[in-house]
Homo-oligomer: 513 residues x 2
């Protein structure tokens, strides 16, 4: 969560194995090649699959389906071809902006018949290159599908189109006494459809759980244009297979999500944040156990960061640490319905951890601005890292008690070749953000990190992508977290739902031999 | 939830369209036909599909796979052929009791090669005839797969074999300071694998949500014997499609669940129950809104029942109503980490609803025995119904505000032909248990109820099976809650995962034309 910031020049240099399809040239010359982001097909060893190329007749057909919303202007396309981390770049010549599910259906039916590849795009805030085209896929944007369909004041059920921006939805439901069950650093631009398509985690995961539990229904358009309406608003429905689950986290490769129904919890009346120093990682873990017991149902976040993270945010961003220097820091958030009760629980917890030595120093905030300032220490780590040099980034799920071992291990393995090896993240969810910095990109450092990090994670039965998904950039490492039988079934599901493979090709699943 | 009790003689009389496969006779004569439960193939218009019949060679092969655990004794088979409601009855001649996933894999590989149909069976506590054979399917019992594999004290993650009994698991995790995220009336005999296979709802759903959110991983054996190991213990894992979701709620038709990993919440330190009288259904709804606001994070159940339910439990079971006679009653449970805080919240809520007239009378219990006594009023309704006459039962999800309209509507439509038309259930989850009693089974009453109830539910975009699933008895009504496109995709998924259709045939999906 939060947005990681990467060096736009980053990435291993790879030769171009891209295949230029015949006829693409006539469109490509429109696209200004900003030198700062290399084309994906030039940087990565990826081959264009034999999809058709957009023709004048296709443009005319699309103009009939979404009149006035067929974009070929290279300057407008620029923003949709490049991911926001500025690490991958497609060469699409066509952006479509449907407003309705029916329009999405007609577009996909046409693409399916014509064998045109499609890149569904929400707010384009993904971390793994899943939301931009790799070659010349038609970009299907949900930007104009931004209507709230209904909100139910009793149950807190929100139904909306896929292109609604998360922050707009938050405002909408907060005015009615509810909150969205997810919150992300990218909330100002990410679309709820993209959140669901990537199974976004984020800041409220510890409290409200996965989208697999909070999404009540969705509507998706399948590769051939079939509209699959599973837009139920029911909490319970055991009639047949729960098809909506297929699309949650499938990154637009099995269907295009056009609307979602999501259960919103009541808005907490009181929020507090405690920022604490711990003498060791073992104490970070024990503090977590203790706070689960004493804070119980009001615990809403348990984040940790190590001393090097604090060094980076104080050094590069000039933030001030609110507590004494410690090997580890913990940020605990409580959200409850009654401030007095919450404060009592939090105070009792703090007394316990301070008197037992689990925590050596701490501060608590309930004021909104001070709460934000404490969160900034945790949320701005990745910004600080980007100012430290070249950054190697990993987003891993690991068994909580082994979570920090990998950081210590890598520090020893890398020695002085690394400037910093840091660990931070959503400890409460077992999610480690492992980051390494060096002065500049170093093949030797990368060679020490990979595949070692993935193998280490696999040995722990961890996940090589906890919350960011696989998209384009990580699809090759899926096998570290899933057995061959699972991969095979995933390929079969893809073949069943999208036999021509037109939906977000080159994403999620490894390239087939 | 809780166990419904049905008249064993109940059910519409239908002629036998059952098809007796050649060679079945030699096994059938072993099965004692207890006159009180009619064979499913004689009661329902269902045709045996052309599966093979168990041969002596098959028995020998199974004896090699699970030595000493190949059961052909008709008396032992009796309990596995009949559902616990005693409404459906298969004629299987073979019950297998594997202990390990590997054994399940070998059994299924053999069945797949031999085209033998398989009925996976857990605790056999299902409500819709999903857990017993329809014809002579081989019964694959998880009864001996009852080992806890691991429990993680920090995260509360339980990993266990599919045949663990829910109550045993509850005890196991409660001794360690956690609770299972689900609780059911059938907990003394249901298996966790069966719970997951049917996506069981139950008493804790309002608080801890669906198994789609709390099940972290599972292991399943596919129809051809392939072991699919998705037994992750991670809270977050976005590597590829979330395959485990396919098996949650698929009633053993896509694979046999052999182990599950499930996230257990911390055990609440304090539990209170309030039993309240409301003057109307509108007040039941407003009381729900109010308690969501004032009880917030400690609310763990919101159940309702109407005056006729109270009449039935007081009349037939001689329970005493703890509050004044009212048109509606509400049971509210709180579970929290601090008794004093919880009591304050509950008192403030009660003052509010009593002073505003939403509630006219009420009582509160924190003592374990008194809590149980209040729960009994709600949990024993279906027992009381069974003593009232023939019972027509429906388990529906409906938009909360329309939930009771169907009860009122049916009361008017049925008039004096019905003894009682009652509504009760998990209001907090939008789940209505609608029950109608008459002196004896009446085709006229049934004709008034069906398809009317299903059509009414479909018009509200409700679910014709909220938590019980479809199994054998309700597979025909799936179309009322899911569009044809969804049905088609379900059929395709079934064909992909089980091309020969050997896994729990005649269940979940409608018979294909």
């Amino acid at each position: 969560m939060g947005r990681d910031v990467q060096d736009p020049q980053a990435g291993q240099p790879v030769g171009s194995h891209g295949h230029q399809p015949p006829g693409l040239q006539k469109w490509l010359f429109h696209v200004p090649r900003a030198p700062e982001v290399m084309l994906t097909r030039e940087r990565y060893p990826v081959r264009r699959l034999p999809f058709s190329v957009v023709s004048g007749e296709d443009l005319a057909a699309f103009e009939r389906i979404v009149p006035g919303r067929v974009i070929t202007d290279p300057e407008v396309l620029e923003a949709s071809n490049v991911d926001w981390l500025r690490t991958v770049r497609g060469s699409s010549v066509l952006l479509l902006r449907p407003r309705t599910t029916e329009e999405v259906s007609h577009i996909l039916r046409h693409c399916h018949e014509r064998n045109l590849a499609v890149n569904p795009q929400g707010g384009n805030t993904g971390m793994v290159g899943g939301s931009v085209p790799v070659f010349d896929e038609v970009i299907l944007s949900t930007a104009l599908m931004n209507q709230v369909i209904s909100f139910h004041d009793m149950s807190g059920t929100l139904v909306c189109q896929a292109g609604c921006v998360l922050e707009d939805l938050s405002r909408h439901v907060e005015e009615r006494g509810f909150v969205m069950p997810l919150d992300l650093g990218a909330k100002g631009s990410c679309h709820i459809g993209g959140n669901v398509a990537t199974n976004a985690g984020g800041l409220r995961f510890l409290r409200y759980g996965s989208l697999h539990g909070t999404v009540l229904g969705l509507e998706a358009v399948l590769a051939d244009g079939t509209v699959l309406n599973c837009l139920s608003t029911l909490r319970k429905d055991n009639t047949g297979y729960d098809l909506k689950q297929l699309f949650i986290g499938s990154e637009g490769t099995l269907g295009v999500i056009t609307a979602v129904s999501i259960l919103c919890p009541p808005k907490p009346r009181a929020v507090s944040v405690a920022f604490l120093g711990c003498p060791g990682f073992s104490e970070v873990l024990q503090t977590f156990s203790t706070c689960k017991g004493l804070l119980g149902e009001i615990l809403s976040a348990y984040e940790f960061m190590d001393a090097e993270c604090m060094w980076l945010v104080t050094r590069h961003l000039h933030l001030a640490s609110p507590v004494q220097e410690s090997p580890f820091y913990v940020l605990i958030e409580t959200s409850g319905s009654r401030a007095g009760h919450d404060a009592e629980k939090l105070n009792d917890f703090l007394e316990h951890v301070l008197s037992s030595g689990l925590v050596t120093d701490g501060t608590v905030a309930t004021d909104h601005m001070k709460v934000k300032a404490l969160w900034a220490l945790r949320e701005r780590i990745s910004e600080a890292l980007s100012r430290d040099g070249y950054v190697y980034k990993y987003d891993l799920s690991l068994p909580t008690e082994r979570l920090y071992d990998l950081v210590t291990d890598l520090r020893a393995r890398l020695g002085p070749r690394a400037k910093h090896v840091v660990g931070y993240g959503h400890l409460g969810d077992g999610n480690l953000h492992l980051n390494v910095t060096s002065e500049a990109f170093s093949p030797s450092v990368l060679g020490t990190l990979e595949p070692y990090v993935y193998e280490w994670t696999a040995e722990q039965r961890g996940s090589v992508s906890a919350e960011h998904g696989l998209g384009f950039k990580k699809r090759g490492v899926l096998g570290y977290s899933k057995p061959p039988e699972a991969l095979r079934l995933m390929q079969q599901l893809k073949a069943l739902l999208d036999p021509k493979g037109i939906l977000n090709p080159y994403k999620t699943l490894p390239a087939q031999a």
